[in-house]
């Protein structure tokens, strides 16, 4: 069937900010879909509030709206654009839920918009647990026993028929929010209440626990001629009980016989047909009882998902791209397989390698939260590794996680781990269980015992035992002969041992090992990911390394005999807090720009969620961990003319020095300059020479020295270990006692690196600058004024571009400093500087001669891709070659707001600080600061109220200032509530206010009012070191009830402006394309 001609314009809804459970994978799928639809001649309208996405690049869709993902805003866009159809299945759960709301509110009908791929009823059938259960039973599928409840009382009666332990799942949520496992009535009541609360339709499912069963996923595609194919099967290493997003998963399924697999396939096909997903991809999850093979269905996602992105990367079959083509009427046999070119997409990929995905956690950021895993997703990123066996893939994946493990290594000495702890770590799923499996075997636990404790399948445990056996073989060879035989060395490499691991075992340096094996001819070979296990010729150069006899990268490069110069770009690895999609955006842009310039681009990355690991992005893709060894392996085969390390965040930057020493030609800012900027002492000296102000600071290596220097610098001080990203382990301490306890804590973090101390500038304004330098000239892309004061990590604070309160002379001084610093550091490429402004004095906080987290935001705001320009400059162009707009001419305000994951980590306070905690960002754009801020809040799911009650409780320091804010809110007809102390000050200043208690005694307390939704906004600034337990529970409740809670005074001011704007004007929506046109008429190049 050919494509449909009755539709012309298609609306795609993106997934919004990166949150736990929804990361870059939807940028990958959305970008693919947009490109595919444009290719087919459709006009694509895109809305996504996340500026750090490739999909929101103005070239990807025809009209791109970076606007809040709410029905109100989407309706405005619809009204303006009048699309014929909406493709709801590519924007994750956010996009799907939004499409559902648009339908339910009659907006789609009103504007005559058709839902493509899956209709409303279909999505409802798949997503609504009651309907899904009914459908499954109808077609004869087995399910865990389950009942529904719509109130806590009902739940308590119903749970009797299920028994404990049982699982509670809330309908219509993402990443398992509002769910959990209850082992007794107490736990049950708590989780049930939470679930009913967080479900969009106040529905929970209480389910028979199938904890410990084997878990599988199938990625299914269907076209409108009813052809169905399975793209990939995935088996979870962690059995049922751990959210799939938090499980180590393996593709293809390993321990299913063909008979069982085909049964699962049959069920999937029956289900997708019965649910009625017309076209596109779905993800279907199964559980299998390991003792008798009973197979039950768990759930189905009628959309592209995190797993479908993984499946696409694991097989080379681009699910989202094909889903878009199927949605407009093509059938699978009409689409060509990109990779083989001669065969159709209507087939089932087969692979000749093993893929392992490992989640990346950031529990270290939330010390109050336990690293225990359950059915609510907690990981913030993932890495994928490919090998010719499971052991190789697993070890590659572990070193690719970038959590200081060099494989399935011996970071802890098993001899010192107590049995008690081993048992607990095996029984209770947690972030480091994979290592404890090995520790247990090392301690002498049998494979059976480990299986019994962990409920992990014996096949996986045996694989780990095999890794251990090889390690022991190596150890005994070393102790007997002080070396290992070439055959054993090869065996170790074939099973994924890194040079670093071997160095540890053999008491040599990594360099020695590398040299030794190269001399022995034991070198990595590259194989293709080709969808067909080499049955057909493959044309897409997507490689992984392994230790085999034939290297296809070499063969293909020779065959192609390209004369083009090659540039290799190192990606950012798995997403984590502090390093996420922003850096992938930069890497992709570098690749696009260099391709345009006629270079061959080579991408190395290990993150399956990203656009950079789409085989379409670069000329060659190497799916590899970003370690020295793995990067060098690619380097040895490709011998690129230049390597870019400044776009992938701290990951490649950390490798820069070693790569440089190994003779790798790093282009752009020199490694020495990078070091100069990162080295506190050298940098401090440089700043002094330039006569630029900086907070008094010191770098120390011992505890005593730190205490002395802190005294000298003067409290409060900002302390942190050097070489960290995202403010890891950074803290503001006010006295010696706190400094001492901090030093004890960070001992493990710093690992030999010095401790950095800075005078903390209280009450200072923070400013970020992103610029490009070609060695001669400097282009300032944007000066961003932070909403929150210095002291809040720049990644967590909101910021606005252009500045809205900074005086012009201050801005000019900041620009002048930027230019001088860029030139002095001989920056070639991107540069980010953080400034603090206190009492009209400008201080430099830090200089980062690399892509920054704000690069995409600035690029989106001004309509120029900074990384794209920077990459070209690194490859030899100069700024003079470009006609760049003056960002001062911006006629609108862009506000970046960060999105925080607090709802995922119970027990964690939501106070912001110098340690970064946000996972993602949104952008709001409007003609006034207030409106832009209000939009950004709406986009961050913190919509500002326009009427109602504000509860204020601030620390003594802020009490005086808050009066103005309170008065303003009162003028805007808000009712003001405050705690006693705050209220007194407000009254003194003439603000009408009612007093409430915090949470104890009586009905008239803030907590109760909050729970009854009688409070619409909270302004609460934390007070120094004093116990905060009262306010803490209020803040926690605010998160639960999704009531905006502002924890800084500056934030409160911005909110007042925002509310004022909401009341004053009807918000409009504007596409980026039209914004850029109106503001920047000069010939833009990027």
């Amino acid at each position: 069937m050919p494509k449909r001609n009755d539709i012309k314009k298609i609306l795609i809804i993106g997934a919004g900010p990166i949150v736990i459970g929804q990361a870059c994978e939807f940028d990958y799928s959305g970008s693919q879909a947009c490109k595919a639809l444009k290719e087919e001649g459709y006009e694509v309208v895109l809305v996504n509030s996340n500026p750090a996405t490739i999909m929101t690049d103005p070239g990807i869709a025809d009209a791109t709206y970076v606007e809040p993902l709410t029905p109100e805003f989407i309706e405005k866009i619809i009204k303006k654009e009048r699309p014929d159809a909406l493709l709801p299945t590519l924007g994750g759960q956010t996009g799907l839920n939004l499409a559902m709301k648009l339908y339910e509110q009659g907006i789609l009908e009103k504007y005559g918009i058709e839902m493509l791929g899956a209709k409303y009823e279909v999505i409802k059938k798949a997503e609504d647990r009651a309907e899904f259960k009914a459908v499954s039973i109808k077609i004869g599928l087995d399910l865990p026993k389950s009942v529904f409840a719509y109130s806590v009382e009902e739940a308590i009666t119903q749970v009797e028929s299920i028994g404990f332990p049982c699982i509670i799942r809330a309908s219509f949520t993402l990443g398992g929010t509002g769910g959990g496992i209850a082992r007794n009535m107490d736990e049950f009541e708590r989780i049930a209440a939470l679930g009913i609360e967080s479900s969009m339709i106040h529905e929970i499912l209480i389910e028979e626990s199938i904890e410990g069963w084997k878990e599988y996923e199938l990625e299914v595609m269907r076209d409108r001629a009813d052809n169905v194919v399975i793209v990939c099967s995935i088996e979870n290493l962690d059995p049922m009980g751990v959210h799939t997003g938090d499980s180590i998963t393996v593709a293809p399924a390993q321990t299913l016989t063909d008979a069982e697999y085909q049964l699962m396939r049959d069920y999937s096909i029956k289900l997708i047909r019965e649910i009625g997903v017309e076209t596109g991809g779905s993800n279907i999850q199964f559980a299998v009882n390991p003792t008798n093979g009973r197979m039950v269905i768990i759930e189905m996602n009628p959309r592209v998902s995190r797993s479908s992105a993984l499946a696409s990367k694991a097989t080379g079959f681009p699910i989202a791209k094909f889903a878009a083509k199927l949605a407009v009427g093509y059938t699978l046999d009409e689409i060509q397989n990109d990779i083989t070119k001669e065969t159709p997409a209507c087939f089932e990929p087969t692979i000749d390698y093993v893929v392992v995905k490992i989640p990346r956690f950031t529990f270290e950021k939330f010390p109050e939260a336990k690293d225990i895993l359950g059915i609510q997703m907690k990981s913030v990123g993932e890495t994928m590794a490919i090998g010719r066996n499971f052991k190789e893939a697993l070890q590659k994946g572990l070193r690719g996680l970038e959590i200081d493990h060099i494989g399935l290594d011996n970071k802890q000495d098993f001899r010192y781990i107590e049995d008690e702890k081993i048992k607990l770590r095996l029984m209770e799923p947690n972030a480091s269980r994979i290592f404890y499996l090995k520790y247990a075997l090392q301690k002498g636990y049998s494979i059976e015992e480990v299986v019994k404790l962990s409920k992990i399948d014996v096949w996986f445990i045996d694989q780990i035992a095999q890794i251990l056996e090889i390690e022991e073989e190596l150890n005994s060879a070393v102790s007997l002969t002080e070396t290992v035989s070439p055959a054993l060395l090869r065996k170790a490499k074939e099973n994924g041992f890194s040079d670093a691991q071997l160095a540890e075992i053999m008491n040599k340096s990594e360099k020695d090992i590398r040299q030794m094996r190269k001399e022995l001819g034991i070198v990595a070979t590259f194989k293709l990911v080709d969808t067909c296990a080499a049955e057909f010729e493959a044309y897409t150069p997507y490689y992984y390394s392994t230790y085999e006899t034939e290297d296809e990268a070499i063969i293909n490069n020779k065959k192609r005999a390209s004369k083009k110069k090659k540039i290799m770009i190192l990606g950012g690895g798995p997403n984590r807090i502090g390093q996420g999609i922003e850096f992938d955006y930069c890497c992709c842009h570098a690749s696009f720009a260099l391709k345009e310039m006629g270079f061959e681009t080579i991408m190395i990355n290990s993150n399956p969620e990203t656009v950079s690991t789409d085989y379409d992005t670069s000329d060659r893709l190497y799916f590899e961990p970003l370690t020295f060894e793995d990067v060098m392996n690619v380097y040895d085969v490709e011998k690129p003319d230049g390597v870019i390390v400044q776009f992938g965040g701290q990951t490649p930057l950390n490798l820069a020095r070693r790569l440089h020493q190994a003779g790798v030609p790093i282009i752009g800012t020199s490694v020495d300059s990078i070091d100069l900027a990162e080295n506190r002492e050298l940098f401090s000296k440089l700043i002094n020479e330039l006569k630029i102000a900086q907070p008094a600071n010191a770098s120390t290596t011992s505890k005593e020295e730190t205490l002395i220097q802190a005294e000298r610098v003067g409290y409060p001080v900002l302390v942190r270990p050097s070489y960290v990203l995202g403010g890891r382990a950074m803290r503001i301490v006010y006295d010696e006692e706190s400094l001492r306890s901090f030093l004890d804590e960070v001992h493990s973090v710093s690992r030999g690196h010095p401790v950095l101390i800075d005078k903390f500038l209280e009450d200072a304004q923070e400013v970020d600058v992103d610029a490009i330098c070609d060695g001669q000239d400097v282009y300032i892309g944007g000066v961003m004024e932070h909403i929150e004061n210095a002291g809040i990590h720049s990644g967590d604070s909101a910021c606005v571009l252009p500045p809205y309160t900074l005086r012009e002379d201050i801005v000019n001084e900041i620009k002048a400093h930027t230019v001088r610093l860029a030139k002095t550091l001989k920056v070639i490429g991107l540069l980010n500087i953080q400034f603090a402004v206190k009492g009209h004095r400008v201080y430099v906080l830090e200089v980062n001669p690399r892509a920054s987290r704000t690069s995409p935001f600035v690029s989106k705001a001004i309509g120029v891709s900074l990384p794209k320009i920077a990459a070209q400059i690194m490859a030899g162009k100069t700024l003079k070659d470009f006609q760049l707009p003056n960002p001062d001419d911006l006629k609108y305000f862009c506000v970046k707001e960060s999105v925080l994951p607090f709802s995922r980590f119970s027990g964690v306070d939501i106070i912001l600080g110098p340690e970064m905690k946000s996972t993602g960002e949104v952008m709001g754009t409007a003609n006034t600061f207030g409106a832009a801020f209000a939009k950004a809040q709406a986009a961050a799911n913190q919509s500002l109220p326009q009427r109602g009650t504000v509860f204020i409780s601030v620390n003594d320091f802020d009490k005086r200032h808050v009066s103005f804010i309170a008065q303003k809110l009162a003028d805007l007809k808000f009712k003001i509530l405050a705690t006693k102390g705050t209220a007194q000050v407000l009254r003194t200043n003439g603000v009408e206010v009612a007093i409430v208690d915090k949470h104890h005694e009586g009905q008239n307390n803030a907590l109760t009012l909050l729970k009854k939704s009688e409070i619409n906004l909270i302004i609460n600034t934390p007070s120094g070191k004093k116990s905060q337990s009262d306010m803490r529970s209020i803040r926690a409740a605010a998160i639960l009830h999704n009531i905006p809670c502002i924890t800084t005074l500056q934030g409160a001011w911005a909110a007042v402006y925002g509310i004022e704007a909401c009341l004053k004007e009807e918000f409009t929506v504007e596409s980026l394309q039209s914004l850029y046109r109106s503001n920047l008429p000069a010939g833009r190049q990027a």
């Binding site: 016989t257 063909d258 066996n389």
Partner: protein
């Protein structure tokens, strides 16, 4: 553990090791791209005289069970993988693949760069190969290969066909009586027929038409099997006689034999189709099925008399013939494996189609 060599007729050598059996074996090297189903592959009689290379690197993960046999013996001549699983895991598993291969004295090797080997066979075509743990001398290995018979022109059916007729009972009451000519029949074909109420009389391949018709079958089934179909003239002749007299359904070799009986010819594919992911379009219902495939020979579309014969199924990867039917007589055949085992169940409906053909014919 012992070093082993896999030496190909064109002089290319690959190295691996054997975990158990030692010695030497010769066969035609073919690769199979299925991710699952190694037990079915090993016991599929169509693999007689072939050395099978599995492209999926981890083989044996779920062990060997009692139910997934496709015949009563292992038929592959040799087995080549990247890595055997020493510790299977599956609730039905009875033994490890290593034990199973050892017990059946099959020379199987691991540690081979099976992807490089597969690429080579794709580019150079399927060819004779020898696995040896004793002889590593290229000249001597070459001589052994040169002396071995080639697949083309080889009648392997006579070796795998049952010696005596036997009856596979219907599941439940018998509704149909099917005569099957056993050229190397897979048990799942029999299981599916039995499940549809058929009692299957399985005949040695050389049984005469008269002897077959003596049981008054409702339908005649031509099974899958190994080797070159063109030399299985005794079955081709039987089919010629049966045309129009009894409904005929053929699978795999059965398809080639029907094609030959209808006057067509067959040719050898470069490296064959061995996998479970091939898209095939059925022009009678316009649906695409993902199919299980295992054949080295193919019916030549140009050799068919299209006035009499219609091509009803085509492989979408290479446009080769995957099914034919006679325009006048009740006879059709399928090149792939609707019985799956291993593989998707998308094409099971073809058995039902044969049953309705029988019903039609009865009227």
């Amino acid at each position: 553990m012992k070093e082993a060599i896999l030496y190909l007729q064109d002089g290319t050598a690959f190295h691996g090791r054997t975990l158990t059996q030692t010695g030497e074996t010769i066969g035609e090297a073919v690769f199979n791209t299925a991710l699952t189903g190694y037990q079915e592959v090993l016991t599929d009689p169509s693999y007689t005289a072939q050395i099978v290379i599995m492209t999926y690197p981890l083989i044996g993960n779920y062990g060997i069970n009692d139910e997934d046999q496709e015949s009563d013996a292992i038929h592959v001549k040799g087995f080549v993988v990247k890595e055997f699983s020493r510790r299977p895991s599956n609730w039905r598993s009875k033994q490890s693949i290593i034990e199973y291969l050892d017990e059946n004295k099959i020379l199987a090797i691991e540690g081979v760069d099976t992807r490089a080997l597969t690429r080579h066979l794709r580019l150079a075509g399927a060819m004779k190969a020898i696995i040896s743990t004793e002889d590593f001398d290229p000249k001597s290995l070459q001589a052994k290969l040169d002396a071995a018979p080639s697949m083309e022109g080889a009648d392997l059916v006579k070796d795998v066909s049952t010696q005596k007729k036997y009856v596979w009972k219907a599941k439940g009451p018998r509704r149909y009586k099917i005569a099957a000519i056993d050229c190397g029949i897979k048990w799942n074909i029999l299981r599916i027929f039995a499940g549809l109420g058929c009692e299957i009389h399985v005949f040695p391949a050389k049984t005469s038409f008269k002897d077959i018709m003596a049981i008054k079958p409702d339908g005649l089934f031509l099974s899958n099997g190994p080797g070159d179909p063109a030399v299985v003239t005794y079955v081709i002749d039987t089919v010629k006689q049966a045309l129009g007299k009894v409904p005929i359904f053929g699978i795999c070799l059965g398809n080639q034999i029907l094609g030959l009986a209808l006057g067509g010819s067959t040719y050898k594919l470069k490296f064959g189709h061995h996998g479970i992911n091939h898209p095939v379009k059925d022009f009678e219902n316009n649906r695409i099925g993902i199919t299980s495939q295992n054949h080295g020979f193919c019916v030549d579309i140009n050799s068919l008399n299209l006035d009499e014969v219609e091509v009803i199924h085509v492989n979408l990867n290479d446009q080769s013939v995957e099914g034919i039917r006679h325009k006048k007589y009740p006879a059709f055949s399928i090149q792939y494996h609707p019985e799956s085992a291993p593989g998707p169940h998308d094409s099971k409906y073809l058995f039902e189609k044969f049953i309705s053909m029988i019903e039609q014919h009865k009227k």
